[in-house]
């Protein structure tokens, strides 16, 4: 299965590239990444507890960064296995400057293989799920790249939840007043 897409991040290319190659940042941005340990030069062992909605699984595997050409390109190779099956993928990430250097356009193209239960029962949703995770990843990455160095990193799960609650709370207040 091919996945590809483009995301524009409001952050400078150098910062984005740095975030993209920082294992601590990656761990925070990859949806459900519980562990990302360095095992060698640009290679990591990873544990992902990930999924979409109620559909979740735990995958153990490796992440490797290749063809690193800062700040414009690298290739990520992922290999994971778990109870619901396996996933293998590799993708090229190309970063281009945009908005007079204040923004970065990331183009990704990749090939993902899935096997086991997820391949044989998730046919109609795999592509959507991949897109969704990519989108989550880049949204989190944008927040990371925007943080000022030295500030505590954003906490994405909490952040999203808080935002939802906050908007709901605002709306409630608004609705109560309008009654």
């Amino acid at each position: 299965m091919k996945i590809e897409g483009t995301h524009e991040l409001r952050a400078a290319r150098e910062r984005v590239y740095k975030a993209l190659t920082d294992p601590r940042v990656l761990q925070r941005c990859i949806p459900g990444c519980e562990r990302l340990e360095k095992t060698g030069e640009d290679s990591y062992a990873a544990t992902l507890r990930t999924g979409v909605g109620s559909i979740k699984g735990v995958f153990n595997g490796s992440v490797k960064l290749e063809e690193m050409r800062p700040p414009e390109h690298y290739r990520m190779v992922v290999d994971g296995k778990g109870q619901p099956g396996f996933l293998k993928g590799s993708g090229n990430l190309d970063l281009e400057e945009a908005g007079d250097g204040a923004a970065t356009v990331i183009k990704y193209t990749g090939e993902v293989q899935v096997g086991g239960t997820i391949a044989s029962v998730g046919q109609r949703m795999i592509q959507g799920a991949a897109k969704m995770m990519a989108s989550q990843f880049f949204t989190a990455l944008e927040a990371e790249a925007q943080t000022v160095e030295g500030d505590p990193p954003p906490t994405h799960g909490f952040f999203r939840t808080a935002l939802r609650w906050f908007s709901g709370w605002l709306r409630r207040i608004f609705q109560n007043r309008s009654k």
Binding site: P84, R124, K131, T161, W169, R172
Partner: protein, 290 residues
């Protein structure tokens, strides 16, 4: 097809359910009919440690009218909606949509709340919920809040419900504009699953001269989540709905939509079906309004 081990609890009140859910958070899932959750559990793609069955809570299954709204309890089954005579008169989109869901067995056990909260990208209800601009009443430890349909469907299988929140009720405002109501739901069913390859829900109001005063069009099955076809809606507004206007408007049904692909239909074909079925559904709705 045997699920992993889980605990099961059937609270008697919604407050108890909310309290259990906030205690267990991600480990728990709400069982509200189970026609998506149980199959996922049997495949072990979902392995919640606790199932909170809200099916035993009294008064979560109802269809009534209050304050100019139709109020539907989350545990109302598809069949109850399909067969409700009053709804056929005042909001025929609901029974029509319900009739397209799964098969008789699914409709007898599956619930609107369960389906909406699950937010399957090809579920039928999200299209109707959007077209009716429904309000979702969520209850959590902090109390109740109302989520508008437009904000509710966030992504594939993801809604605006916060962890710890349960969808309690769905409210539909009585038609907010004067004039004649025209509704319809049309669907291309995937031959294996019966889910929507494309499902189009149309809710429009025409004035005495046949001019479209408002229209809301919800489309499911095409993208990662159901969406409002605002391009179509804009093209209908203020126009007399003849076949040319409708056909031209329906061309916008999949504008800027990143369409799904599966074994049955490519993204292109899905977008095409969305346009064709939007046109057909508007024509049906419009003819019913006349």
């Amino acid at each position: 097809m045997i699920p992993a081990q889980f605990d099961y609890v059937a609270p008697a009140t919604i407050d108890e359910a909310v309290s259990l859910l906030s205690q267990h958070q991600d480990e728990a899932k709400i069982l509200a009919g189970g026609h998506s959750l149980i199959p996922a559990m049997k495949l072990r793609l979902a392995q919640p440690q606790l199932l909170i069955d809200i099916g035993r809570i009294k008064d979560l299954s109802y269809i009534n009218e209050q304050d100019g709204q139709i109020r539907i309890g989350a545990m109302t089954t598809h069949y109850q909606l399909e067969s409700n005579e009053r709804l056929r008169a005042i909001c025929p989109l609901l029974p029509e949509c319900a009739a397209h869901i799964g098969d008789v067995q699914v409709r007898n056990k599956g619930t609107i709340g369960g389906s909406v909260a699950h937010a399957d990208p090809a579920g039928d209800w999200p299209a109707a919920i959007l077209a009716l601009d429904a309000e979702m009443v969520a209850v959590g430890q902090q109390g109740e809040r109302v989520i508008k349909a437009a904000d509710f469907f966030v992504d594939m299988l993801t809604t605006a419900l916060a962890p710890g929140e349960i969808l309690r009720e769905i409210r539909i405002n009585a038609q907010d504009v004067g004039g004649r109501l025209g509704q319809s739901y049309m669907k291309v069913a995937q031959p294996a699953s019966g889910f929507a390859v494309v499902g189009v829900a149309v809710n429009l109001a025409l004035d005495a001269g046949g001019v479209c005063q408002s229209s809301r069009i919800g489309i499911t099955g095409v993208a990662v989540k159901a969406y409002r076809a605002s391009g179509v809606e804009n093209a209908l507004k203020g126009r007399v709905l003849d076949s040319q206007i409708i056909a031209a408007a329906a061309e916008h049904a999949a504008d800027a939509v990143d369409a799904n692909e599966d074994l049955y239909a490519s993204a292109d074909y899905r977008r095409h079906l969305a346009r064709v079925y939007t046109r057909r559904a508007i024509e049906a709705a419009s003819s019913r309004a006349h």
